[in-house]
Symmetry: C2
Subunit: 234 residues, 2 copies
DNA sequence: TCCCCCGATTGACCTGCGTCAATTCTGGAC
DNA sequence: GTCCAGAATTGACGCAGGTCAATCGGGGGA
């Protein structure tokens, strides 16, 4: 297979064992669901290409976008504990994924110590990111932090980090950041006036990455803006 | 030891193995820190008695309360991936915890399959809860959902779920829910006027649990309000 | 017992962002 | 090419909740 593109840092042998249990699923076309809230939880999914959004519908019928997932990222971790998927996952564009059937994955985690460590790490990172998303920040900080984070994630995939095509509409960005669509639109306009980005619909060019990082510094969605750790001991 | 009070559903033998690696730490007095952001990540902590809050300080110096942890709950999961604690943990009252040194825990997870499954489950549940916290709801929904959740958690511990003593000040509740202290205070007053609760400082009596659940229904912090799953397929 | 300090409450006012509404843009369908 | 439905933008306005400020209250220390 050779195409499970998760950055797990496993050696070749372990990676092959992991790939032996996955099966590719796709293409999933834009708007099609990978899974839905309440479905039996059967597998985790690694995005190979394209992108997904995850969301929930609350008891009032309102949609809440939990996150966006591009290539190399994992989806479905929140479904483990209850045995049911806790959110919906829908393709934002033509997308293909690798399914990692959970019972077999659990078995493999047990057999491959390196995999155990990586899975714990991935889940922990997801938790940190979600915690960050739950914090309280202004609309400006949120959008700047979101763009900076997205830019880094694209760059990590080898795509140009300063010239991106957003896979999602404004409405989804807004929902994800707990803003109104109009607020997102106005902020894009403001960032553009300030010379920080050039935006045309879903094409975004980041003209002043430093300014974007500064604006979004306190809303660091993936702990990646500064590689600097915080080495203070008490 | 016999006092690691985590509801992991392990058999006696496995539980004993787990307890053999923990060591009790406490009492931690109110205001003392269990760990701080940036510290080397060394252990997970299970709260035995008392309570903790976890929080971060952002680059502007603002505090964000991530969560509260009472007996039987686990703290520190977000520190795994980076090897450094990602938040601060401070006691809200006299508190004692069990430290689970992570390297030994990892080893034990490998050896005890039942423990592996439980750890994955616990992390997944944390993730679901954090995702929920990140969603967009009115102040009223947030506070009602928070109180309902807290009530359930107390009840799970065998404490009266309708008569609770809040271990945290208004300011921390407000920060956790992304509200102003004054808003929390006003909402308590309103809930009291509506006959839903009786509040006196930190003493809260829930007079109308159903009303509280209804108000907070769409902001379900621990998936516990309704045991009903969502069995729809597709 | 009396302070004293800090947490909580309450009121008045303000503002960031949401809501509503009107255009404009645009990429597919044909 | 033309049409059109949905996406994005822009403006006017309103409100939920934040901010500022004054007061209250109660537990702990001497």
């Amino acid at each position: 297979m050779r195409d499970l593109c998760l950055p797990l840092g496993l050696d070749n042998d372990d990676m092959e064992r992991l790939e032996s249990i996955v099966h590719t699923r796709g293409p999933i076309r834009s708007g099609e669901h990978l899974f839905r809230e309440g479905d039996n939880f059967q597998a985790l999914y690694a995005v190979k290409s394209g992108s997904l959004k995850t969301y929930t519908i609350d008891k009032q019928g309102r949609e809440h976008v939990l996150g966006f997932h591009i290539g190399g990222e994992l989806v479905g971790l929140d479904g483990i504990h209850s045995g049911h998927n806790r959110c919906n996952a829908v393709a934002l564009q033509t997308t293909s994924v690798c399914a990692l059937p959970f019972p077999r994955l659990e078995q493999l985690i047990h057999e491959v110590p390196g995999l155990q460590a990586q899975v714990l790490r991935v889940m922990s990172r997801e938790l940190t990111a979600s915690n960050q998303l739950a914090t309280d920040h202004s609309a400006e900080e949120r959008l700047a932090g979101f763009l900076a984070s997205l830019s880094r994630r694209f760059a990590r995939r080898g795509l140009p980090g300063t010239r991106l095509t957003l896979p999602m509409p404004r409405r989804d960005i807004a929902s994800h950041l707990r803003l109104a669509t109009e607020t997102v639109s106005r902020l894009f306009a403001r960032f553009q006036d300030d010379g920080i980005v050039a935006v045309r619909r879903r094409e975004v060019e980041i003209l002043d990455p430093a300014a974007l990082e500064t604006l979004g510094a306190s809303f660091d969605l993936d702990g990646g803006s500064a590689r600097q750790r915080n080495p203070q001991q008490r």
